[in-house]
């Protein structure tokens, strides 16, 4: 008897299919937007992202199909899958929360998500560059959404910094391509001497712009503070991690044999996590505080790129995934509060008591960012700090623990504002979509905190795919 032919779905390469589904949803949304069907548009967008997410997540249980002819451009590995799952989860939450926004907003979200999925899967420098640009360009539009003075200003800052970063990235990629005679990431070699150093430096700066590597992170607090809540959530939860994914891919290919880079990146990571941590202490705007903390967490994730050992990279990935949901949720909630005129710590007084469910979800997200145990943030930090200390940089892990301990102060000053007193403000309502997105973030945060094993396993598999 002939063996059963494999299911048709099994022969689909997951990342390419997920990207295709996103594109399909994008076209559907664009058509529905012109047709004026808001509800249909939302359904199409949510369905597209959900299907793509299912595709990315279901892969371990589906036998791997041989990729089509583009396998060298798009890597269908565990690393790409982890980031695809992460980006799409964040995009799903963001789309849920952005219920009242126009169709173009949803389309831009889809485009950003597509860029994030492709960036993590890129097997070629050109694909990596294009997909990171896709993320950046589509999020310029999102940042400017609403066209208030603040947002326009933030979008311009983001744009100027982004153009500079793109130029640097191009320079670095160009030097690498010239030096190694190919643009395939796996075959890259670093030219010895100053050219190689320049290339690597330009890449760390250009790709690090997305991750928020010091000093290319000055735009971040302004943009995160001014943008619409879901947009900040998308950038902090997804866009930042697209940068991390790209950086790790390139670094794993070229920097493994360059030991002097370890100390440089480690120093960069230390500065990136310490400076914003201290700066956040004196801020009075809740979103700005969380923005600085997101930058600091980018620095922590960079520690894995400094060591480039499987364990350390696993830690970085675990941290990035664990905190993506929490920062996305925190920005969505704080954005919803800010749209009611509650932005600074003084204005937020008692806000948690006047809408208990929103307050509880926001508090959970903040606690997770602070690294309180039994929440996802702790799972990530525990693994990362242990891995960094274990693999040879205990001093760096010590600095990270210090930064983490100091950060308790500012997270808890937000929580203190939310609950300390009833405040004089009136009650406020937030939409069902926002609440659903927040609940999703909070529940996932708890689940991955109480049972971190799936997170650890996926991160280990993803890190394994890099080396």
């Amino acid at each position: 008897m002939m063996p059963n032919p494999p299911l048709p779905i099994a022969s689909l390469p997951p990342i390419a299919t997920a990207a295709g589904l996103l594109l399909l949803a994008l076209f559907a949304c664009a058509i529905l937007d012109v047709g004026g069907s808001r509800k249909g548009l939302r359904v199409a967008a949510l369905a597209g992202i959900a299907l793509a997410l299912a595709m990315a997540l279901a892969l371990p249980w589906i036998p791997r199909a041989a990729g089509p002819g583009i396998a060298h451009l798009l890597r269908e590995d565990a690393f790409a899958r982890l980031f695809a799952a992460l980006s799409l989860t964040v995009a799903l939450c963001v789309t849920l929360a952005a219920k009242e926004r126009p169709g173009s907003y949803t389309c831009a979200t889809l485009l950003t998500a597509l860029g994030m999925v492709l960036a993590a899967a890129a097997g070629d420098l050109v694909v990596l560059y294009l997909s990171l640009e896709l993320v950046t360009l589509s999020s310029y539009a999102l940042v400017a959404y609403g066209r208030t003075r603040e947002r326009m200003e933030a979008a311009v800052k983001y744009f100027v910094a982004g153009v500079l970063a793109s130029a640097l990235m191009l320079l670095g990629f160009g030097l690498l391509i010239v030096g190694s005679g190919t643009s395939a990431i796996a075959a890259l070699t670093l030219a010895p001497g100053p050219v190689g150093l320049l290339a690597l430096g330009a890449i760390v700066a250009g790709v690090g712009f997305k991750l928020g590597v010091f000093p290319f992170n000055l735009w971040m607090p302004d943009v995160y503070q001014a943008s619409d809540g879901p947009v900040s959530g998308l950038l902090a939860g997804g866009g930042k991690n697209a940068g991390l994914a790209g950086l790790l891919r390139v670094m794993a290919a070229v920097a493994l044999g360059v030991p002097q880079w370890r100390i440089a990146i480690a120093a960069l990571a230390a500065v990136t996590m310490l400076v914003p941590t201290v700066t956040a202490l004196v801020q009075r705007d809740a979103r700005r505080i969380v923005a600085y903390s997101v930058v600091a967490h980018g620095g922590m994730a960079l520690m894995g790129a400094a060591l480039l050992t499987p364990l350390a990279v696993t830690g970085s990935l675990a941290l990035a995934c664990a905190l993506a949901l929490a920062s996305c949720g925190a920005f969505i909630a704080l954005g919803a509060l800010a749209s009611h005129g509650l932005a600074s710590l003084d204005e937020l007084r008692g806000a948690g008591l006047r809408n208990p469910l929103l307050g509880a979800c926001l508090t959970l997200c903040l606690l997770s960012l602070a690294g309180i145990p039994l929440l996802a943030g702790f799972s990530g930090k525990l693994f990362l700090f242990y891995a960094i200390a274990q693999d040879g940089m205990p001093w760096l892990a010590g600095l990270a623990i210090l930064a983490s301990a100091v950060s308790l102060w500012y997270y808890f000053s937000i929580i203190r504002a939310l609950y300390a007193e009833r405040g004089s403000g009136k009650c406020y309502e937030v939409g069902h979509g926002t609440m659903a997105a927040l609940l999703a973030c909070a529940i996932l945060t708890i689940v991955l905190g109480v049972y971190p094993e799936p997170l650890y396993r996926l991160a280990t598999m993803a890190a394994g795919a890099l080396f």
Binding site: P373, Y386, A387, A405, F412, A420
Partner: protein, 469 residues
Amino acid sequence: MLSLLLAFPLLSAALALLFPRRARDIALAGALALCALAALSLWSFSLATKGFQLLERIAWARLGSVEIAYHVGVDGISYPMVLLTALLTLVAVLVSRREIHTGEAGHYALLMALCSCVIGVFVSLDLVLLFACWEAVLVAMFFLILRWGASNRAYAAMKFLVYTGIASAALFISLVVIAMATGSVDIAAMDLSHLSPALRTAIFALLLFACLVKMPIAPFHTWLPDAHVQAPTAGSVMLAGVLLKMGAYLLLRLGVGLLGDVVAQWRVFLFALGCASAIYGAFVCLAQSDLKRMIAYSSVHHMGFVLAGIAIGSSLGVTGAAFEMASHGIIAALLFALAGLVHERTGTFDMDALRGLAQRMPRTAWLLALASFAAMGLPGMTGFVGEFMILVAGFARFGPLALLMVPAVLLAGAYVVRMLSRVVFGTGTLRASEGGASPLPFGLLAAATLLVGIMPGLLIGIIAASTLT
């Protein structure tokens, strides 16, 4: 068994949130069930077992090669603390019924969750699990103070958070170091004896710092009076009764248990520090005019004795320290519960304003006298037994150096008599009545004070199962 003790309060916390209107009854039922379970567990606890018992272990997650497990068990040192937590949770729920009127569901849910996490600290045999519970306790107490505390609660909550947060960071670092050096976080199977002396000293120093802040020992104690004075009565009962013991417990479990030789090296220093803290705490008590603040500082005094007992390190000293932990838990809870009642009826903690309490609230006043005498270490009550064991062990170990403890003991008498003479006796213009207050929480604690004081063998038997060599 232990998992049930952990799960029951959590379950009632969840139920309290789901049915906010019945929250206080759900919490009471949960606390009663917890006490019943704790009493039942007495039958399964074997006095003949020296090591850990009632073990349960489930694999949880892997950090590289380090295996994290949900691993719980008790021995003679932790088991009394578990029983104490169950008792004090019941008391805390009972005293909350008259005091808490806003956000009841949240309050009871936090209180029950706190109870679960405290038990978690005492029964964890996995460092990561222990740290998780340790931090969760901190967060739950932060919210209890922040939301239901007195007028300066936000300041007190943040101060509590900062101090204990720094302590937690030290504990976390030592956790990572231990995991790196031994490749294991299993407390029951841990062996640190093959590590280099420098590393052992470093681990101990970090642990010691975390514990000294938590206990607290002067000069790391300044968060305590603020937290206590601002916390609601239930918060104070839990804080003084069991949260402070977490520090001492950790010092016993990881310090004496795993790094005994480092403790031995630091013995004289730790003993002197404990005595100094006890003397300092007593002097500060003498200077207080606020009843609740004085009770708070008396905790510094007593935890100083506990540290001295731990430092002595002989089996009598350690038994005494463990006994003193349990006994101070009962006494401090009684004192705070009484102070809460007095404040509810009179609206003040000021000792001068409270003059003549015995005329207006005689039963409360006599209970206050009883609790104070117990705190002073009067024979026949629990306070005496622990201090006596520590004194005897101290003289056996240190000889004349142990004379340091004498002023601490005497000063305890002084501040107690001063407080009683001002508050309970004398005549004043106080207007208050004590009608309508439920006698149950106070009766339970007073009975425990006398019972353990008259028959200390009950408790010593449990403790000695693990401490006797």
